[in-house]
């Protein structure tokens, strides 16, 4: 709990704002966890446990979920200082009736059982959404996802394009593309045709964004070849189809090659948004929602979104999604970027249960910034601060992605 009354009051009000989560990895066919294994299988826990000394044996597919959970919990006293641990603690307390002080191997069995019991309830998904204040959640869909069998109003499709841009030279990706579109993408013309098919398929099924993650040295060019060429085609299609383009900038894949699944990627701080200057100039009609991995690049992002009408700040991604950096990065954005151009936060979650602790982490920081930088110095009133919170947490998402 925040220690001063104003921050407490702001937080209480902010927590009432219904959320639209503009980026997640939710599987709409299986949105919630079904066991504690689904919670602790999140790469944050497997990688922190591994980093702190757990070998990868318990993560093998043939290990019983209960054993895996016990192994990870047994290593938790090595990383119970981390904010990721505190997310889990909040999940355990909010959703799993946990009332203890610390999560460790000793509580593994009882917690596992409680999770099984609670998560097995037929209305679990509804319970989690309601308790978390989540109204809609954006997905991350592979280009050949059929996008059927779920409520695309609640789970909003989003075309993820990493494979198209960076793996189109792989035969199986080409094969998948041909299968999904009915087009053999051999040259520029057929590739364009295939991509048009994808955008038609996605927008027909309610997709509201195109998204991609990019390595630190990527620099798209209008007359590039390979990844740069495909990327440029995607931007053209975003323009044609009226979709914002989420750029998640800065990740190098497979840096720690022996790491756990999804726990191998890292960044290189030596990257700049100037690499995207040509793109931003070439597509004034496309809104680029930018996520970055470091506070250094966040200062660039603040400046680029203050200058370019089509550049928007988006969330606090991955390695920069910890309070020390969120606080600094969010303060700078709130002080210098037009308020209509900020997407405050997204969960990046794989299971709905993580929405609550992640958004709570952000909301606590937001309440503190609004109190310290806006209300107390007289820049705005408490009411004005809450309107600002609502805008960056909800209304901007609706407007920018045209949902509802």
């Amino acid at each position: 709990m925040p220690s001063d009354q104003l921050t407490q009051d702001l937080l209480a009000e902010i927590s009432q704002i219904p959320l639209i989560d503009p980026h997640s990895h939710i599987d709409p066919h299986r949105p919630t966890a079904r066991s504690l294994d689904d919670i602790l299988g999140y790469h944050y826990y497997t990688e922190l446990a591994h980093s702190a000394g757990m070998d990868k044996a318990p993560l093998a597919a043939d290990v019983a979920p209960r054993e895996r959970v016990r192994a990870i919990l047994a290593h938790m006293d090595r990383f119970d200082n981390t904010v990721q641990y505190s997310w889990f603690l909040e999940i355990a307390r909010t959703f799993l009736s946990f009332q203890g002080e610390r999560l460790s191997a000793e509580v593994a069995d009882s917690l596992f059982d409680a999770a099984e019991r609670l998560m097995g309830q037929p209305d679990w998904e509804e319970q989690v959404l309601k308790r978390s204040g989540l109204e809609k959640v954006f997905l991350t869909n592979e280009f050949d996802d059929p996008l059927t069998g779920f409520d695309t109003n609640r789970y909003v499709p989003c075309l993820r394009t990493d494979a198209l841009v960076f793996q189109l030279d792989q035969p199986d990706v080409r094969k998948r593309l041909a299968k999904a579109t009915g087009v053999e993408a051999g040259d520029q013309v057929s590739l364009k045709k295939a991509i048009t098919k994808l955008f038609e398929h996605f927008t027909k099924h309610g997709a509201k964004a195109c998204a991609i993650s990019l390595p630190p040295d990527f620099q798209p060019q209008p007359s590039g070849s390979g990844p740069s060429q495909v990327f440029w085609l995607l931007a053209e299609h975003c323009r044609t189809f009226g979709l914002p383009f989420d750029l998640m900038i800065g990740v190098n894949r497979r840096v720690y090659r022996a790491g756990v699944y999804q726990g191998q990627d890292l960044f290189d701080q030596r990257t700049s948004l100037i690499q995207y200057a040509e793109l931003f100039n070439a597509f004034p009609e496309v809104t680029f929602c930018i996520s970055v991995l470091s506070s250094g690049q966040n200062q660039e992002l603040v400046s680029y979104s203050w200058i370019f009408p089509n550049v928007v700040t988006s969330g606090h991604w991955w390695y920069s999604n910890i309070p020390a950096y969120i606080e600094l990065d969010a303060r700078a954005r709130l002080q210098a970027v037009p308020k209509t151009k900020q997407i405050a936060y997204y969960s990046d979650m794989y299971k709905l249960e993580f929405g609550l602790p992640k958004f709570n982490m952000y909301r606590r920081i937001l309440a503190k910034i609004l109190a310290d930088d806006f209300v107390r110095p007289g820049v705005t009133t408490e009411k004005g601060a809450l309107e600002l919170a609502r805008l960056v947490l909800r209304d901007n998402v609706r407007r920018i992605f045209k949902v509802e």
Copy 2:
């Protein structure tokens, strides 16, 4: 208002220190705004309005000032979270008798009329200077500025050299240089002669500094050619004429090519002061007053000015001139750079009315740092803290630039 008594007391005292503003873009023949259009024509407002969705039509020269002001104010509710908005609010409240809560299109006409009435007073310049505590203001003069017709004791000339270094290959710049100096600068010898003429002209008219803004990849070399060569000649002349050299490091020009006037430049965080190591070594007699654009480079600046006797920290420039970054950057400087080597702040303003809110923003942060880092931990007394404030805000400027 700061919430604790010590910070309030410090701020009250700091606000009494008469200011010498060591960098501005004031036109000494027209130092104050004459209308609200002059205030909202500041690029911070035109670029934020444009970034937030205003097209550039209202900025055309043939649009009536009242219409332009109305257009910008009509977009202000999209960026009234920014610190730039709060500067304007402070100007409206302090200078324009504004008593409302929010500045929007609704107040455009009344504010425009109030501004016209108040700014038309014959002693407006004196009123603004007095109320702002401004004693002297440094200018930014093109090399062919005649420097006549104004009080150079109040408005201190400063030789701006961007055109000389980066545009000397342009015929009109060469022509202007020839006209200003009577020298056709063809080779190294004649170029040197022309530059000597400029320095003679400027110092004769009371110039106290030479200044330049530099792109992130600039790396001056003693035996360079083109820009590097001219730059090196300027440093030699700073040595000969005893002028400090203001280096404003890191800006790329025309990044957003369709941007508003003065709203097109951005930076690339991948730059280092190591690029200036040869320069700092070669000119121990020249004081280099360094401004940077990012907190990352500010950490370098703190270290370089702690080591190099001729490197001095200078202000909080442009994209780093927002509280979140000023606070971090200023704390580091105050904790690690000799206090005699810090130029706390400059306004960078085009109209005198902006001195007050900009310096106030800095003074509030300074008061907080002095309270938190110096007085409360017992490093110094309240009196010692105020002496430190006076030194970095005033006395250093006088000593380093030899004014008075």
Copy 3:
């Protein structure tokens, strides 16, 4: 003193934790200062005095120590804002019975005399260690140090390898290596043999770490030549001999060539831990204790140590060892790196008297972070916070370096 009770209580308890200082430049044959000249001869004071305008004449070997001290103190009123000054103030108050407000030339003689009297006591070393709570102190030993004549249990040897890696092409270094090992290191085979001899010598005498400082552009490769090759051999020996490898990353030597002794080095922010990815992958059995010079690279370090099991955060080095950066960097580490993988702090001192003010600076920041980020938000209890402090300050050092 911290202003709130919780932080005060935490600080009081943290200050009771006996310290193992995992990196210093102590001479075990002369661990304490013998005069005020030994204190003010620390490069922080000579370089700050020089940076603030003192010429280098008083630093010459033939100047009487009392004169040198007077000269440095005479310039101290130009840098008494710095944290380095506050270290000296704390030394003067704690160890030299100083009771005044400010340290200046006026107190030079009395302080010099007091220092001579007090430091001449036969049990001075014991007094300093006790008062500072220092139990063990790691050394920085040249490869040909005999490592005899001192208590290696108290002063723990550490093999410093800068000369081996970066100066092996210098005849005198080769000669010293031959003399120390009995091996003429001509080719890869003989070089390996020589290095093995060094590791045998060092580990036999209780060495607990291998250490090196590295320039910002260094990128070790398995099949490199020159420095890269020697470096890789050292990593292989760390694996064989079970020694952690301290990497102190980012320093450029002799940047300010006319600087005082040890006051010439600076950094270039454009460096990345990605340069060490191959190394970290190749040596999973070696623990790499990483120090960095900038907050930008600290964010990388936080992420790399969260992912790589063999990467550990280590202290707050040199230019980043000031409160503004320690606070940000330490918060991020405590929030995101497994607590077992953090070495909170080391002194880097040359004389034992500096352990107290430097560790106190860190402990005050740590207490504040624990109060604000851990205890007040309910992440852990006061007891849990103190366990965390003990782990990062002491127990991790013992476990990682296998001391005791």
